[in-house]
């Protein structure tokens, strides 16, 4: 069958000693950089990828694949063990991953994310191979109207996962969108909300936002709570404690598969895919679960779903990226950059003209994932031990990482001050029990929301009906309404009961 010969070509390329070495190197490098708290996946990749300029394109891309996995793993480590997510998807992982770490089960969380990402990635690749052509043709049919509604759905899904009230989640998503409007408007080029600060012309940096709202705020919060004088949670460092037990496995395998499917679907849609995938899967798992209250408190299903979806989505994000030349995610944008630097133009002809490259790359992603899974085992112990350092010594180190990270990304002082501002904002959010991950989602998707809104209205001549007359759009909006309705109903039932559970 055509598929298997493609896979064969790919594996042939991926498994040469030359390329394997590059992949391995990439994974290790990525892990070391990615785990630095405060350096997100994207920053880590961008810091390392200049190294690839001097290599041939195939090897460069393969190394990038390794780097991608490594930084993803490192970023997950930081987000699970320290509640410092470097990207939107790790923000979802840490919702349950961090409580797990606090309960002494950080090792288990890390292990299961490695497995989930492997499964998700593999399923994503398989689906990619089967459905690539079909998905591309569907994706092309989505216009601004449909995209707008899709993003609305993503945002609503993002807010309904917050364990506090839905209103708070929606408010936080809106806040995120507002923060995303800071900077130059894409269409007119006028600066908005920059108050004359030049560096804000490009907007607030995502990494800075995340470090402030998650990292700094977390530190302030921990300092105020009872555990300030004690070590960060005692972790059982034995082998047995680091692997998931039967209960964990039983709870995880179905979410893993479901999330992989959902992730694969979303990943194939250009632009929005990956960010939304993790959130939506998490939300769905929570809705499907018979014990929704576990989510947010260390539910392994949450961690699994987020990771599997994210990885599956990243794999299928290849479809629009390589086939249409439109990046399906930020990582893909980097990939396109690498290709162009080497003089290769991504587009529909790429699969035909350079099958070695295309399939070799895809297979190396898979190989990278395998390498990661193998390396994962000895390394968990190291990271977990890292946290045995007493907190009053650890937190200044984390702050230093955050400050240096923020400053060195753009050699910009404004970024460091932004961390101060975001830290204050993030802490206030904790005080008021406003959930933080939706802010990140709103921030990332806000520009897309705006752009599609504009285009849609331009197409319809200012008529709002267009969002409902398009069937696909109406479906997306309908789902959003459904999600909100369900959550509101649940909240009303709960009204005299618990005041929404705090983030920790």
């Amino acid at each position: 069958m055509d598929l298997f010969s493609n896979a064969a070509i790919g594996l042939e390329t991926a498994l040469t000693l030359h390329n394997l070495t590059y992949c391995f190197l990439g994974v290790v490098l990525g892990m070391v950089v990615g785990v630095i708290p405060g350096i997100g996946t994207l920053t880590a990749i961008s810091l390392i990828f200049p190294v690839t300029f001097y290599m041939e394109p195939t090897s460069a891309l393969i190394m990038l694949a390794g780097i991608w996995y490594g930084t993803g793993y490192g970023g997950r480590t930081a987000s699970i063990l320290l509640n410092l997510p470097g990207s939107v998807s790790s923000a979802v992982t840490c919702i349950d991953g961090y409580p797990m770490a606090r309960q002494g089960r950080g090792g288990v969380a890390l292990f299961i994310t490695a497995v989930a990402s492997f499964v998700g990635g593999t399923i994503g690749i398989l689906i990619l191979m089967f459905i690539a052509p079909a998905i591309s043709s569907v994706a092309i049919m989505l216009g601004p109207v449909e995209y707008f509604s899709l993003v609305v759905l993503g945002l609503v899904a993002g807010s309904s996962i917050a364990d506090g009230s839905v209103i708070k989640g929606l408010a936080m998503v809106s806040l995120g969108v507002l923060l995303g409007t800071v900077g130059a408007d894409v269409q007119t080029g006028h600066s908005r909300y920059t108050f004359g600060i030049l560096e804000l012309y490009d907007g607030i940096s995502l990494v800075v936002l995340a470090m402030g709202i998650f990292g700094v705020a977390e530190i302030i919060w921990s300092l105020g709570s009872a555990r300030r004088d004690t070590k960060t949670p005692d972790m059982d460092l034995s082998w047995k404690a680091m692997t998931p037990n039967r209960d964990d496995v039983r709870r995880s395998w179905k979410p893993m598969l479901r999330a992989s499917g959902i992730g694969s679907f979303f990943g194939a849609l250009p632009g929005t895919g990956v960010a939304i995938a993790a959130f939506v899967s998490y939300a769905i798992e929570k809705k499907l679960s018979s014990e929704p209250h576990r989510f947010g408190n260390g539910a392994i299903e949450g961690v699994t779903a987020a990771e599997a979806a994210d990885n599956a989505a990243e794999m299928t994000a290849f479809v629009p990226t390589l086939a249409l030349g439109i990046p399906g995610s930020a990582t893909m944008a980097l990939m396109i950059g690498v290709l162009m630097i080497h003089g290769i133009a991504p587009g529909p002809m790429l699969i035909v003209d350079e099958p070695d490259l295309f399939w070799g790359l895809i297979m190396s992603f898979w190989v990278g994932n395998v390498i990661l899974l193998i390396l994962n085992v000895p390394l968990i112990g190291i990271w977990v031990r890292f946290l045995a350092v007493p907190y009053h010594l650890l937190f200044p180190a984390i702050l230093a990482f955050i400050c240096m990270g923020a400053y060195t990304v753009n050699n910009s002082l404004v970024d460091v001050w932004m961390v101060v501002f975001m830290g204050g904002l993030g802490y206030s959010m904790r005080v008021f029990s406003w959930p933080a991950p939706p802010v990140l989602l709103g921030f990332v998707l806000g520009p897309m929301l705006e752009e599609n809104f504009r285009r849609a209205l331009m197409m319809s001549g200012g008529d709002w009906d267009i969002f409902l007359t398009s069937p696909v759009s109406a479906v997306f909006l309908g789902f959003s309404g459904l999600l909100v309705g369900m959550a509101v109903r649940a909240a009303i039932k709960d009204r005299t009961g618990m005041q929404g559970v705090e983030q920790h």
């Binding site: 070391v32 950089v33 630095i36 810091l47 009230s165 209103i167 708070k168 929606l170 408010a171 809106s174 806040l175 969108v177 507002l178 409007t181 408007d185 269409q187 007119t188 908005r192 909300y193 700094v216 302030i220 919060w221 300092l223 105020g224 709570s225 004088d229 009053h392 010594l393 937190f395 200044p396 180190a397 702050l399 230093a400 990482f401 955050i402 400050c403 240096m404 400053y407 060195t408 050699n411 002082l413 460091v416 961390v419 101060v420 830290g423 204050g424 005080v431 008021f432 029990s433 406003w434 806000g446 809104f453 504009r454 209205l457 331009m458 200012g462 008529d463 709002w464 009204r495 005041q499």
Partner: protein
């Protein structure tokens, strides 16, 4: 009176405030345009109003619910944010070592019982770590120590 949820009440009011000020700024300083041809202020103005609406929902639901008072760690907030600010102020004129030192010393004031000797060692360790990771490994050009006068 005492059965209101003050945390959400204040929170909701804050949200209304933030949303409204965003909208007002957009209306005054940015070009709104029409629905047909949106200017750059239209979207922020709308979302600001959306946020304010959610804030209002919060306020109204807070009026009829009990809730715990928020706990505030003012000392922690002041010293941690102060520490990061110190970093921002020190790094360009005085270089990385001073900036890290300032950060460590000030943010450690957020906890009682910090010992001077420990702080110094911690600062030294952190500076070395930062140097290894950012300067050696990642190659950023951050001056280590600098005297601007």
């Amino acid at each position: 009176m005492f059965s209101r949820n003050y945390k959400d009440l204040v929170g909701g009011l804050l949200l209304i405030g933030i949303g409204l000020s965003w909208t007002v700024y957009a209306l005054r300083k940015l070009d709104i345009g029409t629905f047909n041809a949106m200017g750059d202020g239209m979207f922020p103005a709308m979302i600001g109003a959306v946020l304010a609406t959610f804030g209002a929902c919060e306020v109204s639901s807070a009026l009829s619910r009990r809730g715990a008072m928020p706990q505030l760690n003012v000392r922690g907030a002041v010293f941690v944010l102060g520490g990061v600010s110190a970093f921002a102020l020190l790094i360009v004129p005085f270089g990385m070592i001073s900036a890290c030192a300032g950060l460590v010393l000030i943010s450690s004031c957020s906890l009682s019982g910090a010992r001077g000797y420990q702080m110094l060692t911690l600062t030294a360790v952190i500076c070395i770590l930062m140097w290894v990771i950012f300067v050696l490994a990642l190659g950023s050009r951050v001056p280590l120590a600098h005297w601007p006068f």
